[in-house]
């Protein structure tokens, strides 16, 4: 069995690491640089860095801030927030990103995903989906930090973007985000059920068992976690130790 990646996710607003519930009610937690460093030392397999308001206010990412975070680590770094041109992707890579996550701009310009994949390779382009449940087995794509409806069906959208050449999908359940009550397993397995590319599950990580379940039942290839790590409910090290005892392969923490 392959190694499941455990990926701390940093939500950024201005110069700060923040975290909300259902992507709202944001609280300032501190300097993203310090968190990135801690997670790198603790054995994070990658880091996700998302500017939560860049897209909403049509601003660019703060590339200088990103650079200070990237300098702390030598593991893959996925960066998102307001990416809307090849130039933006270039700037993100230059600041230390290895991949970019694209949500809002892709919804209005799906061909941008293909353009990015062609220029930088599929491995560089991560489709970011913010999903809200509208009825059992059906989810709608949201943008701008869970604020704007798109009318798009999550499953149809994921299928379309895979054809356009995205290399991974980061799926956030807006309903479960920040609640620590466990992941939306139905949502994640609806995507992993057909996706030939890796799927990163996010939104709702709670206790150890919730993480195990999204791997064994949701078939996630990777798990993105924020609140429980930021608030030190437990450490990455302890989580990985637990997953190992449950026969889930994760990279050993060195």
């Amino acid at each position: 069995m392959k190694n499941i990646r455990i990926i701390p996710r940093l939500d950024i607003k201005g110069p700060n690491l923040i975290k909300g519930i259902h992507t709202e009610g944001l609280r300032v937690l501190g300097n993203p640089k310090e968190f990135a460093k801690r997670y790198y030392e603790e054995g994070a397999d990658e880091i996700i860095y998302l500017d939560t308001v860049a897209s909403l206010y049509q601003r660019n990412l703060d590339f200088d801030l990103l650079k200070t975070v990237a300098e702390q680590i030598s593991i893959p770094l996925t960066v998102g927030g307001g990416i809307r041109s090849i130039h933006d992707i270039n700037n993100a890579l230059r600041a230390g990103a290895d991949k970019v996550a694209i949500n809002t701009y892709a919804v209005s310009h799906p061909e941008f995903l293909a353009e990015g994949a062609k220029k930088f390779g599929s491995q560089c382009i991560v489709l970011y989906i913010e999903a809200k449940k509208i009825m059992p087995g059906k989810w709608e794509v949201y943008t701008d930090g869970g604020r704007e409806r798109t009318g798009l069906d999550v499953i149809e959208w994921a299928k379309k973007t895979i054809d356009l050449g995205v290399g991974e999908i980061l799926i956030t359940s807006v309903d479960f985000d920040g609640t620590r009550k466990g992941f939306d397993t139905d949502l994640v397995s609806a995507i992993t059920g057909f996706a030939p590319i890796p799927v990163i599950a996010h939104g709702g990580a709670g206790d150890f068992i919730s993480v195990k379940n999204i791997i064994t039942q949701g078939h996630a290839d990777a798990v993105a976690i924020s609140s429980v790590l930021h608030y030190k409910d437990y450490s990455l090290k302890d989580l990985k130790k637990y997953l190992n005892t449950e026969n889930i392969n994760v990279r050993a923490v060195c």
């Binding site: 069995m1 190694n3 030598s74 593991i75 893959p76 600041a95 930088f120 290839d221 050993a252 060195c254």
Partner: protein
């Protein structure tokens, strides 16, 4: 001493060079990104990075007329490290979107992963272990001091298939399939994985490489 070694990272238009520059910069002050043949031939060590298709990689070298310089450098016996696509094009032939000639620094070919057990996904993305190929000893190599089964970061759909077993320096298993993850011929190395994204172990590999100088 290491700090003054001149390392050229070859810029041939394929992919993101920033993380490799940063990683090498931890150990030497003289790291240069260049597409200048002179900067390749005069370097103490060269790194051929790259992400993308085999064809785009060879095209990138050819349009810059860098193949002769790289071959001249290799003949000098100085250390070279290929990473990911950079390692792949060190072999003789690539079979991605057609059939293409590589640098042929090491005999062999690059082919797609076969169908894997449990329908494991391709590309192979994430951390996986490397271990020695049978009797190949890692002492005095870029893998010295590493524990066998150290984890490193992979992103690839195609694999290195050296013709001669002696060039298979390390292996990795994915989806029940064992493939070559490090090729070697003397001071020439190619890693299918990304040492520059492989945390402390990756940095150790880069340091070991620079110590070959």
């Amino acid at each position: 001493m290491l700090k003054q070694k001149h390392v050229t990272i070859i810029d041939y238009g394929v992919g993101n060079l920033h993380s490799i520059v940063k990683a090498v910069g931890n150990f030497t002050e003289k790291v240069f990104v260049s597409e200048d043949p002179q900067a390749i031939e005069s370097a103490d060590a060269i790194i051929l990075p790259g992400v993308g298709s085999f064809q785009s990689g060879m095209e990138g070298l050819n349009v810059r007329n860098l193949v002769p310089s790289v071959k001249k450098y290799v003949a000098s016996g100085k250390p070279m490290l290929g990473i990911c696509l950079g390692a792949q094009i060190m072999l003789g032939k690539g079979f991605e979107f057609g059939e293409f000639d590589g640098l042929n620094i090491i005999h062999g070919k690059v082919i797609k992963f076969p169908v894997l057990e449990n329908n494991e996904k391709i590309p192979h993305v994430g951390w996986n272990s490397i271990y020695p190929n049978a009797d190949k000893i890692w002492n005095d190599s870029i893998l010295k001091n590493l524990d066998p089964l150290s984890s490193v970061y992979f992103v690839h759909s195609y694999i290195l298939v050296p013709e001669n077993n002696k060039n298979i320096f390390a292996k990795t298993k994915y989806g029940g399939y064992e493939f070559c993850s490090v090729i070697r011929s003397g001071n020439i190395y190619g890693c299918q994985f990304h040492p520059e994204k492989s945390g402390k172990i990756g940095l150790e590999i880069i340091k070991n490489f620079l110590e070959l100088i």
